[in-house]
Amino acid sequence: MTPDQEVELRRRQKSRSRVTALLLGLFVVLMFGISVAKMLINR
């Protein structure tokens, strides 16, 4: 792997990690929202 490829690899790993973290955070919020909505409907 050339130094340029290594830089590109690290850049992609970093951006993928950020996007993954963001998506997981949104997923948690969404599941919380779904749980609350379901509880309200079943009340």
């Binding site: 792997m1 490829q5 690899l9 790993q13 951006s15 993928r16 996007v19 609350v36 909505a37 379901k38």
Partner: protein, 303 residues
């Protein structure tokens, strides 16, 4: 923090933008819109969080189907100008990554809509993904010029899924919405395939203009427009929709029919002379947005 040394032969992981591109975001906008319209047009009110989740799942399911389509078609995508820069044919991603992404997203979207809405909607979403991938992409697309006719059903599912998410049931109106998109697909895609015919011919995809020629395709566009017009007016004629939808449907279908007649009368063989085809293709997109928008407006006003 320690840095892990890299193996010498490790391929570059896909950029997240390329994963997003696999989902065909442009196509997704129409899917999301028609799915949302099906959901809003359904009787009763759905919790906004659950409604949002249902529409999100329809979008994710469509994205997953798009990713699996690109995984399977990476060879022919590389032969067409329009698709050569997609992540797989351009070599920016490994095929296995696309397959894993597509399957994972499919399962996720189906399970989530089952949990958030109901299992009827989940079943329809699963059917739509499987239909697009197995029936259209794998079975029909490379084998028959009728690929678009039957495969068009895959794109017609979103309003049905939206309706099922809201009610847990499928009745006559969502079935008509399905029929409208199903019958709209051939004129829409055949108009496109007329002026990008060389692309399809180069890739060996048996689109109608490649197999049967421009004249037959133009007549078929007009022939498929007739039942589409009938299906689009039916919700109003049968009393399932009000005046806003009725007037919109009459105007939109009159324009669509007029453009389809112009296409049938055109005899240009080069893309430069295919102005009626380009007009019909552009209008067909607007047609679906406005028609479904009118249905929602009708429902909201009546409510």
């Amino acid at each position: 923090m320690t840095t892990i040394p890299l193996p010498q032969t490790q391929p570059l992981p896909a950029d997240w933008r390329d994963l997003l591109a696999l989902t065909k975001p442009r196509v997704m906008s129409l899917v999301v819109f028609t799915g949302l319209c099906g959901l809003i047009a359904a009787p009763g009110a759905m919790n906004p969080v659950l409604a949002f989740t249902a529409v999100l799942c329809i979008a994710l399911g469509a994205g997953a189907a798009g990713a699996l389509n690109q995984w399977y078609e990476s060879d022919i995508d590389g032969l067409m100008k329009r698709t050569a820069n997609r992540p797989l044919p351009a070599g920016r991603m490994e095929r296995q990554t696309a397959l894993h992404f597509g399957v994972g997203l499919s399962v996720f979207s189906v399970v989530l809509i089952g949990l958030a809405a109901n299992y009827v909607a989940a079943a329809w979403l699963a059917v739509s993904i499987l239909f697009y991938v197995l029936v259209y992409t794998v079975w029909l697309k490379r084998r028959t010029a009728q690929n678009i006719v039957i495969g068009g059903a895959a794109g017609a599912f979103p309003p049905l899924i939206g309706w099922a998410a809201a009610t847990g049931d499928v009745t006559a109106l969502p079935a008509l919405l399905f029929a409208i998109i199903f019958l709209w697909t051939p004129p829409h895609f055949w108009a496109l395939s007329l002026f990008v015919r060389t692309d399809y011919a180069a890739a060996g995809v048996p689109m109608l203009p490649v197999v049967s020629g421009n004249k037959v395709t133009r007549v078929q566009i007009l022939l498929y427009t007739l039942p589409m017009v009938a299906a689009a007016i039916a919700p109003w004629a049968l009393g399932m929709a009000g005046t806003i939808y009725g007037v919109s449907a009459l105007v939109l279908n009159a324009i669509f029919l007029w453009l389809a007649i112009a296409v049938a009368r055109n005899d240009a063989s080069e893309p430069a002379g295919m102005i009626p085809e380009k007009r019909l293709f552009k209008f067909s997109i607007l047609y679906l947005f406005v028609l479904f928008g009118a249905l929602v407006a009708d429902r909201l006003v009546l409510a």
